[in-house]
């Protein structure tokens, strides 16, 4: 993920590194792009743009380092630059509000008691997908990176350009919001809590 530290590649090496290090991640890249844009054509354009940028800036990539995180970072930045400003996504999250929310414990208690493991296990992909997609983009992103792609907090901090502490608090808040959405789905679908 370092920038400008490696030696420039020779022309034939650029192709080789591109195909060997970058192309194997195209599935994950498309998934990420699709979950950000929620549109197949936009996802395709975003992935293509990211790969072309990656090729142009390939000298900033050190062979053998974390290509997937490096690509995800470019994709995320391209998304912010191109799509976010024209999209109808809610405004950027107020992190002052996030931190104060994070520091209040009452929310966790309520959600945990309102949602059961059995209920989640009975939910189908559509319900979980809808709940995830309804989250604000910043919250959706940390869940995708952590739970779907398995990035570490440190990798996420680099991809998102935020401190690790913020990764953790945003993830915590994102999961609580997701639980709230799942509670709402469960209620609307008529899942019953057997304890009541």
């Amino acid at each position: 993920m370092s920038v400008g530290e490696s030696m420039p590649y020779k022309s034939k090496d650029k192709q080789r590194v591109f195909n060997k290090e970058f192309m194997p991640h195209i599935d994950a890249m498309y998934n990420f792009a699709y979950r950000l844009t929620l549109d197949e054509d936009d996802a395709k354009d975003l992935v293509q743009e990211t790969y072309l940028k990656a090729f142009r800036f390939i000298n900033s990539f050190e062979e053998g380092t974390n290509a997937k995180a490096w690509l995800f970072r470019i994709l995320k930045n391209s998304f912010i630059n191109n799509y976010r400003k024209v999209s109808k996504q809610p405004n950027k999250v107020d992190y002052q509000e996030v931190e104060s929310y994070y520091n209040s414990e009452s929310v966790d208690e309520k959600i945990t008691t309102d949602l059961r493991v059995e209920t989640v296990q009975h939910m189908i992909g559509d319900e979980i997908t809808n709940a995830l997609n309804s989250l604000d983009i910043d919250f959706r992103t940390v869940i995708i990176l952590c739970d779907l792609e398995g990035f570490t907090y440190e990798e996420m901090a680099k991809i998102l350009d935020i401190p690790i502490g913020t990764v953790r608090s945003r993830l915590h808040r994102a999961r609580n919001l997701l639980k709230e959405k799942l509670v709402n789905y469960a209620t609307s679908m008529g899942y019953k809590d057997k304890r009541k």
Binding site: E105, T112, G125, I128, L148, H172, K179
Partner: protein
């Protein structure tokens, strides 16, 4: 459960669930869970959501021509 303790537990749960906890933190949670139903419930629920996200989320199909299209555009740039 007192507020501060609850918050510490939530943070610990998240670290363990995400595979980011140290051995000592995992041990701390292993010690705590049998004694606290609230944290046990939260742990199991969080695990099941994480598992549901990983295994049941609908995956978009990668457009078949995308990789070829990228590689031919890169050839033009090279």
């Amino acid at each position: 459960m007192e507020v501060e303790k609850k918050q510490q537990c939530s943070e610990l749960l998240q670290l363990v669930i995400d595979g980011q906890a140290t051995q000592q933190q995992r041990h701390e949670l292993d010690e705590h869970l049998p004694k606290c139903e609230c944290c046990r419930n939260e742990f199991e629920l969080s695990l099941s959501i994480k598992e549901g996200l990983k295994s049941r989320l609908k995956k978009p199909n990668l457009p078949s021509e995308l990789a070829t299209s990228i590689q031919s555009k890169v050839l033009e740039l090279a």
